[in-house]
């Protein structure tokens, strides 16, 4: 399977991100194809999470350009990423802790505009959509529970539900499977299948090679902020230099 240039939905051109003298992302260039599940792998410190943070505006771009659907962006503002059709989860699960599960989802569904939000109380349609999302990740029964009281796995599921509720085009999942029991892994896989069936694009940072081989269509291997290899999982993950990069960590 080669890369179909017309189907590029997200492109990173020569991206740089450094902290002091450390180049976390060092001249990275890659193309993400629409509708695929693409994995970002690499040893710790290879720049995967930094890349996600840059793409979602949490860290400023130091060099290079990000292009969404061909439109080039010199800088990315967090609150605008939904406008670009992007949403994400966080590696260290960032929920709205002292708020109920339901509210964590309602936030995604309600009015963004300051004045609009002031005069809006959530209604039937919001609740219906929230129920749909929460049932998908199996948290509807826990809807009144404060997020801080959920188990680790439930918290990860809530984050994934939150991203799902955004109904974006491009999903950036940062280690969504880590620490989950098999039953929950299955739930997340179902979410992924549902997203893919709707034509959404998924970018996945993940360590579990088995999951990657089973779920993803394409893999980018990063090392020290640079692109080491790319291709179909079965083909790329066995390559010598990829294995060495992991062993060397």
């Amino acid at each position: 399977m080669t890369h179909n240039k017309d189907m590029t939905i997200l492109e990173i051109k020569n991206l740089q991100k450094h902290f002091g003298g450390v180049y976390a992302v060092d001249g990275l260039s890659l193309k993400i194809e629409k509708g695929r599940i693409t994995a970002l792998v690499g040893p710790n410190g290879s720049g995967k999470s930094t890349l996600i943070n840059v793409l979602t505006g949490l860290l400023p771009i130091d060099g290079g350009v990000v292009a969404v659907r061909g439109a080039e962006l010199q800088y990315i503002v967090s609150q605008k990423i939904p406008d670009y059709g992007i949403t994400r989860t966080f590696q260290n699960v960032r929920l709205f802790e002292q708020m109920p599960v339901l509210d964590n989802i309602l936030l995604i569904l309600t009015e963004r505009n300051v004045f609009g939000a002031l005069f809006e109380r959530h209604g039937e349609s919001h609740l219906k959509k929230a129920e749909e999302v929460l049932r998908l990740v199996g948290l509807w029964e826990k809807r009144s529970e404060l997020a801080i009281n959920l188990s680790y796995g439930q918290r990860k599921l809530l984050e994934i539900g939150r991203a799902y509720a955004m109904n974006s085009d491009i999903y950036l999942f940062d280690e969504p499977f880590s620490g989950l029991f098999p039953a929950m892994v299955k739930t997340v896989e179902e979410v992924f299948h549902a997203l893919k069936a709707s034509g959404k694009t998924i970018i996945l940072v993940e360590h579990d090679m088995g999951l990657i081989r089973r779920l993803t269509d394409y893999v980018f291997v990063l090392d020290s902020g640079k692109l080491l290899a790319e291709g179909i999982p079965d083909e790329v993950l066995g390559r010598k230099e990829v294995v060495e990069a992991y062993l060397g960590e």
Partner: protein, 288 residues
């Protein structure tokens, strides 16, 4: 009876202050020690408009709320990028600067001597000069403020404000322009505080800069602490307790010249004890 009305009126004024500060602090999760300055701004605007231009109380109060609202918005915008400690120090600086203006701009504010002769409200011939009617007016405004605060916190806006408190960076990722929300809640809180200031000025008929120092801001924060962060009802309870406290202490019979300081000592100890043993306040639920 007059005594109870007096306490009740003070309760009303401080409850409005507590509720408005709670919206700001309980919403954003930051410590703001300048609410007394906004309180004073409302009081001074009303006092000046009523004594120099003979403007009607209600109109003057409304103008005070508008001016304070704008000042609150500007302050929020200017201090937005500051984190916890710095934000708090900036608010102290802000309070100090505003009170400095009250003291030093003598041609306008009459400086340390203050402004006297502020009359009670009247509207279309109905006078609120009597203590009963003023108390009723205060309670009416308290009711409006209370209901507004509840509506705000139960709206989608309120949900966003709470999320900003929880994790501002994360909520932005989902498309919220958090700065605008912080500016809006600051403006609303400031307008409410100015209303309290207008009531205060009209009630005691005389104001001077010493009413609005940083200490007073700490006291208002105490109302929020005792009642509970992010709990509107808590602010009512906090105001009740902190307004009654001096009266209770009065019966302990301290000599006149130190009784005010004894009250202050007790407030300080109350703040410390609450932080040690019940940081969420009496009926607050926010877990620290």
């Amino acid at each position: 009876m007059n005594y109870i009305l007096h306490l009740g009126t003070f309760f009303g004024i401080y409850a409005i202050l507590g509720i408005s500060l709670n919206l700001l602090v309980g919403g954003t999760g930051l410590i703001w020690i300048a609410h007394a300055a906004i309180f004073g701004l409302g009081a001074y605007v009303l006092a000046l408009l009523m004594t120099k231009v003979a403007l009607n109380f209600f109109l003057a109060a409304f103008l005070g709320m508008c001016i304070a609202g704008i000042v609150g918005c500007i302050a929020a915008w200017v201090f937005a990028r500051l984190s916890g400690d710095y934000y708090m120090l900036a608010s102290v600086a802000f309070n100090y600067i505003i009170v400095s203006v009250f003291i030093n701009w003598e041609s306008l504010t009459n400086g340390p001597l203050g402004i006297s002769g502020i009359s009670r409200p009247s509207l279309f011939g109905i006078s609120f000069a009597g203590n009963e009617s003023f108390f009723a007016l205060t309670f009416l405004f308290l009711g409006l403020v209370y209901v507004s605060a509840r509506l705000i916190m139960h709206s989608s806006f309120g949900r966003v404000i709470k999320a900003i408190r929880e994790d501002e960076e994360a909520i932005r990722v989902f498309g919220y322009h958090t700065l605008l929300y912080k500016i809006m809640i600051s403006g609303i809180a400031a307008a409410m505080a100015a209303l309290a200031g207008a009531l205060f000025a009209s009630y005691i008929a005389f104001i001077d800069p010493s009413n609005f120092h940083v200490m007073e801001s700490i006291f208002i924060l105490g109302i929020v602490v005792v009642g509970g962060f992010a709990s509107i009802r808590g602010s009512l309870l906090g105001a009740l307790i902190l307004v009654l406290l001096p009266e209770v202490l009065r019966f302990a019979g301290f000599p006149q010249d130190i009784s005010a300081h004894m009250q202050q000592l007790v407030y300080g100890i109350v703040l410390i004890l609450f932080m040690l043993y019940r940081p969420q306040g009496l009926i607050g639920e926010y877990k620290f």
